[in-house]
């Protein structure tokens, strides 16, 4: 697999352009190309979970001059997440996107976005990371506005402006770091920073990065674009954005830079914990007051990302015992994959309901469990998962995070986490009550179950919600702990500069 590693970006990049060319000849080809590419990538990504960590020198240039690609536990985890969810979203799109024109362009943008995200999680070079981040971001700006109606364009433009500000801040930070360390290679930079130490200039860069990557991850107060952008995108894109994009571009990058490059730091830790807690509370409160199905989900994403950020914050804390910090980080990573499963599932469900009923206002729906039992069941399972009801996956990750915070002595944060879990439960009870149960409006009496291509991804994701909850021994020890250890072991990361 080592030699094939760059293919994770090369294949989707090539396919994105090939797609548009082939479409000139055959209209249906775009569907097949996108599906085959996504399937191949997903299989390759799952294979990566079983690979030992290695680094890959692009073009044979040795570090720190050439671009370095790193594969460790964290990268493998993120790659799997991105490509599996992408495959499901593309399967879903086969049916769903027939309602839109310009399907080939949609697939091209989608593939570009995959290429960008894969690149971000693979690369060991800061500027390279920025480039891939921009590729994914630009594709996502365009995809958000894909409907080209009033709301879609407005959301896309706001997302574009705010996203560009974030990218600019990140670029600024990169330039700053380069001026101090003289390198862009992340492992090398980590080594140089050990020498330089965390001075004020580095502190400013950290602030820029928390803001820039935090905006991509939508932590409060940098979250304002998300509740507009995620609901406006087509449902599979919403699922991609909430499920993986904010994690690949925001959460992963913060984790990689803070853990592997900067290292544990008390102030960074308290800021991340505070921002996480703030996001959790603000997000869930706003989610409670929404009538738009997808907007509710979008706000809830902010809240759930808060859990992850908070867990990372604890992981970075040098003051608590290492075991407790590791537990917090572990909980955050666990929640990260869980969130990808249930939030993608919920967004895809919302798309299925919208596809059949033509509305996103949950108060106009009702009793759909009877008419669309499979979608309804998937929606219900995902709702219970995100609400933290055992034995589904959300319960376990929230439990780990809460236990870690309590054990670390942060009783307030721990209690906030419990309280937000309760409010999330309330949000998703409201959602289920108004959409799945209650009286079926007369005009939806003839509503049918969604098409097969849309139902299959839903069922798979719902199964994942159950599986990630009860089959912990299958993946917990190997995948999650490997990812955690790769983040905690800064020395090993510095070692990648030697290359493999």
């Amino acid at each position: 697999m080592q030699g094939l590693y760059p293919l994770f970006t090369a294949i989707p990049l090539a396919a994105a352009f090939l797609n548009l060319l082939v479409t000139k000849v055959n209209k249906k080809a775009a569907d097949y190309i996108a599906f085959v590419v996504a399937a191949v990538l997903a299989v390759m990504a799952v294979r990566m979970l079983f690979e030992a960590p290695f680094s890959y020198r692009v073009g044979g240039w040795s570090a720190p001059w050439g671009i370095l690609l790193v594969s460790d536990g964290m990268s493998a985890l993120m790659l799997t997440l991105i490509n599996v969810v992408s495959l499901l979203a593309i399967v879903y799109s086969l049916s769903y996107m027939t309602a839109y024109t310009a399907k080939p362009k949609y697939y091209s943008l989608f593939l570009l976005m995959i290429a960008g995200m894969n690149g971000v999680v693979m690369t060991g070079d800061l500027f390279n990371l920025f480039v891939f981040l921009e590729i994914a971001s630009i594709a996502s700006y365009a995809l958000v506005g894909f409907g080209t109606e009033h709301e879609e364009l407005e959301a896309s433009f706001k997302y574009l402006i705010l996203g560009t500000v974030a990218s600019t801040a990140i670029l600024f930070g990169i330039a700053f770091l380069y001026s101090m360390t003289g390198t862009l290679n992340l492992p090398d930079m980590a080594r140089q920073l050990e020498i330089v130490g965390i001075n004020r200039a580095v502190a400013f860069v950290i602030a820029l990065f928390i803001m820039g990557f935090g905006l991509k991850a939508s932590t409060v107060p940098f979250h304002a674009w998300l509740p507009d952008a995620h609901p406006s995108a087509p449902a599979p894109i919403s699922a991609m954005l909430s499920g993986v994009l904010i994690k690949a571009l925001g959460v992963y990058t913060i984790a990689r830079i803070m853990f592997n490059v900067i290292g544990p730091n008390g102030m960074v830790s308290s800021l991340l914990m505070f921002l996480g807690a703030l996001s959790m509370v603000v997000g869930v409160l706003l989610a409670l007051g929404q009538s738009d199905f997808k907007r509710m989900l979008a706000y809830s994403s902010i809240s759930q990302i808060g859990y992850i950020t908070m867990g990372f914050g604890l992981g970075l804390n040098p003051a608590v015992p290492p075991a407790v910090a590791a537990l917090g980080l572990f909980g955050a990573l666990y929640h990260l994959i869980n969130h990808a499963a249930f939030k993608s599932c919920l967004f895809l469900c919302s798309g299925a309901f919208e596809y059949r009923t033509g509305t996103r206002n949950r108060f106009e729906m009702g009793g759909l469990m009877r008419r669309m039992p499979v979608t309804g069941a998937a929606c219900s399972i995902a709702s219970l998962s995100i609400a933290g009801v055992p034995p589904f996956n959300g319960f376990w990750s929230k439990l780990v995070i809460i236990m870690a915070f309590m054990q670390a002595g942060y009783y307030v944060y721990g209690s906030v986490a419990v309280l937000v879990a309760l409010m999330t439960l309330m949000t998703f009870i409201k959602l289920q009550s108004s959409v799945l149960f209650g009286q079926l409006p007369a005009r939806f009496a003839a509503v049918k179950e969604a098409p097969v291509a849309m139902v299959v991804p839903l069922v798979i994701l719902a199964m994942l919600c159950i599986g990630l909850g009860i089959a912990y021994p299958l993946f917990g020890e190997s995948v999650l702990q490997a990812a955690r250890d790769s983040l905690l072991d800064k020395l090993a990361y510095m070692g990648y500069i030697i290359g493999g």
């Binding site: 630009i138 009033h150 560009t164 600019t168």
Partner: protein
């Protein structure tokens, strides 16, 4: 040092333009100014007084080159950054035009159907 300071002024002007101006086009211009400020900053990082272009000629001794040439990496970065900026700008202008078609206005504060 004064160059850095001027870059900062440019940057702050861009931020001001972005936040305070209501017109979409002006906002985009503000973003572009910010982008330029950052690009200038990156160039300045690699700059050295009396530097030469970072091209190693056959007859030039290595030590001499290292002492006089400017850092080549920032220039590469800026080129990439400009290209990315161009892509973003194109997208911004395209969406801006489509927005005008729909809303019949360039005033961003009137374009707020999405809130709450």
């Amino acid at each position: 040092m004064i160059l850095y300071f001027l870059t900062l002024v440019l940057f702050v002007m861009g931020v001001y333009c972005l936040i305070a101006k209501k017109n979409i086009v002006k906002k985009i211009i503000g973003l572009v100014i910010i982008d330029y400020a950052i690009n200038l900053f990156i160039i300045l990082i690699g700059y050295r007084r009396d530097g030469v272009a970072p091209i190693l000629f056959k007859d030039m001794p290595m030590e001499e080159f290292a002492r006089h040439s400017v850092d080549p990496l920032p220039q590469a970065l800026v080129l990439t950054s400009i290209v990315i900026g161009l892509g973003v700008l194109a997208l911004q202008v395209a969406i801006c035009l489509r927005l005008y078609e729909k809303y019949k206005t360039f005033n961003m504060s009137e374009i707020n159907r999405l809130k709450g």
